[in-house]
């Protein structure tokens, strides 16, 4: 599995992904930088963090990849719900935004759900 990382707190995001599953390949880039990677299949997914989880993290990707492929897995102050995340993956979402406060909580759940869906 290959994941592009953009948005805020990228080192924390990469560390959280590696902790969840050290075999996942990660690429640190920007939201705009990730668009061609997703389009060419160079990476499978995009993880991004921002203040709210639905703003800067994924806004460019909503605009360039399409709203239907983007979702927010952890809003600020909100809880991480594994069932909602599983449904997102089933619906074909490949761009995952989260509040930067929630990286530690959301990434393990998201990674587990992605692995199970494969």
């Amino acid at each position: 599995m290959r994941v592009a990382i953009g948005g805020m707190k990228k080192p924390e995001m990469e560390a959280a992904i590696k902790r969840a599953d050290s075999t996942i390949e990660t690429v640190i880039t920007t939201d705009i930088g990730a668009v061609p990677m997703l389009e060419s299949g160079e990476v499978d997914y995009y993880f991004g963090a921002c203040e709210s989880g639905g703003g800067a993290a994924i806004s460019i990707l909503i605009g360039m990849i399409g709203y239907g492929k983007c979702c927010t897995v952890a809003k600020n102050g909100g809880q991480v719900n594994p069932e909602v995340i599983q449904k997102f993956i089933k619906d074909g979402k490949i761009v995952f935004g989260m509040a930067h406060d929630s990286i530690e909580k959301a990434v393990p759940v998201l990674v587990e759900a992605l692995i199970n869906a494969q």
Binding site: G6, G7, M8, K9, K10, P11, T29, T30, D31, I32, G33, V35, P36, C50, E51, S52, G54, G55, A56, A57, I58, S59, I60, I62, G63, M64, Y67, T72, K75, N76, G77, G78, Q79, G97, A99, H100, D101, S102, K105
Partner: protein, 432 residues
């Protein structure tokens, strides 16, 4: 005295919120960067208004309740999260064009009048809550000045980070020892210069590749924003006036410093603090250009406050009339330059990467400053009884899933501690 509950201020905030709700309803501008790309889905008919409304509400409600309230209660100054995130939602919910400004206006009138009532209630308490909030803002200017160094560590690693820290410390101490200039201003300047130097050196090493596709996307929707420029300029003028009269501040990096400026009586101190706040807000604006500009250009929907340079212009102008003119001109210039900004950003992806790191670094230093300031405020209010309560509120939030975001927990803990101390005082369990 600035920031008071005058008839002018009530009318101003009501008009401002009515207008920003209208901008949101028309899809011309929204404040939330994440709502911007969803608006075209609605305008182009792929989404229903009810769905857009629930997205707008879901994106922002946590922010309004935590950050929006947390920065305004201790300072008595309104902020964009409280006002504009709400008018984003109200504008989207409104089913008719005329309904949006009414809903927005009601919200504006409600917030500014209830702010006066709440402030009066908090000021009258036996344990001084509002007076201790000065301690909350003390570390902010110094902590904010560290953001370039934190960004350098994140982007370029420990070696360059340590070098930059040493250089900045030496220059800071030279300035502090031999001049009367505020060392923090120089610190930010030196740090930002080092950040740019490292970025250029880095770009030269791995020559950046450009993509024509991106440039095309950028230039496509700019026309829609240019068409709306008059409306956006009116919004900019209203916001700049609100900043100028002291009833509104643009962000966490300036709001606490401005609150201090409002309390100060010496005009020299007021000027110095206002300048500090303006520099911080300007630097924050620079960090946000790539984000706001790219979301605007790719969606055709602008930011309510544009690239946020209207905030420092509003603070610095000598009177509300000049502020209005300045705010309108700034928005006009920003919109005129959007195409150029888009091309530059398309050519240099490293700028965009720096922007991500700068925004992360600013959040990191502000969370740190607000937490330390909040703990200082609790100690000021109630000694180590205050510390006990404030620290436990922080830990409870951390250990129960962090429902209140890190940026807001400091001020929230400080205010809650003040209220609890007052309750303890009234029942005879706390003596000053």
């Amino acid at each position: 005295m600035l920031g008071e509950l005058t008839v002018f201020n009530v009318i101003l905030v009501t008009a401002l919120c009515a207008f920003t709700a209208f901008l949101s309803h028309m899809g011309m501008a929204v404040f939330h960067d994440g709502l911007r790309p969803v608006i075209p889905e609605f305008i182009e008919g792929r989404m229903k208004r009810s769905e857009l409304s629930s997205i707008a509400f879901g994106l922002s409600v946590g922010f309004i309740a935590s950050v929006g309230i947390a920065h305004t209660l201790p300072t008595g100054i309104l902020n964009p999260w409280l006002l504009f995130l709400t008018t984003d939602i109200l504008g989207v919910i409104a089913t008719k064009k005329w309904l949006a400004p009414i809903l927005g206006g009601v919200w504006g009138a409600l917030t500014i009048t209830s702010l006066g009532v709440i402030n009066a209630a908090l000021t009258g308490l036996p344990v001084d809550l509002i007076g201790s909030m000065g301690a909350l803002s003390d570390p902010i200017v110094s902590a904010f000045a560290l953001f370039p160094l934190v960004a350098i560590f994140t982007q370029f690693g420990a070696k360059k980070g340590v070098t930059a820290t040493a250089i900045t410390l030496i220059i800071r101490q030279l300035v502090a020892s031999f001049t009367t200039v505020y060392p923090e201003s120089i610190q930010v300047f030196v740090g930002v210069v080092l950040l740019i130097v490292f970025a250029i050196l880095n770009d030269k090493k791995n020559s950046a590749k450009t993509s024509d596709d991106e440039a095309n996307v950028f230039s496509e929707r700019t026309a829609r924003i240019k068409k709306n420029v008059i409306w956006l300029m009116i919004g900019g003028a209203l916001i700049a006036v609100a900043c100028n009269v002291g009833v509104f501040a643009g962000s966490d990096v300036s709001i606490y410093t401005l609150a201090k400026a409002h309390k100060a009586t010496d005009p020299a101190v007021v000027n110095a603090l206002t300048q500090q706040a303006s520099i911080a807000e300007f630097m924050r604006g620079l960090g946000f250009i790539p984000l706001i500009a790219t979301t605007a250009i790719t969606t055709g929907v602008y930011g309510v406050a544009g690239l946020t340079f209207i905030y420092p212009v509003g603070y610095l102008m000598p009177n509300p009339v000049f502020a209005a003119i300045g705010g309108a001109i700034v928005i006009f210039l920003e919109v005129s330059l959007l195409g150029v900004i888009g091309k530059v950003l398309g050519k240099f992806p490293s700028i965009r990467a720096s922007s991500d790191n700068i925004r992360s670094a600013m959040t990191t230093v502000m969370e740190f400053a607000l937490l330390i300031g909040a703990i200082n405020a609790t100690v000021k209010m109630g000694g180590y009884t205050g510390f006990f309560i404030g620290a436990m509120i922080y830990f409870i939030n951390e250990l129960t899933g962090r429902r209140i975001m890190k940026m807001a927990i400091g001020p929230v803990a400080a205010i809650a501690t003040g209220i609890i101390l007052n309750v303890l005082y009234i029942v005879g369990l706390f003596r000053m």
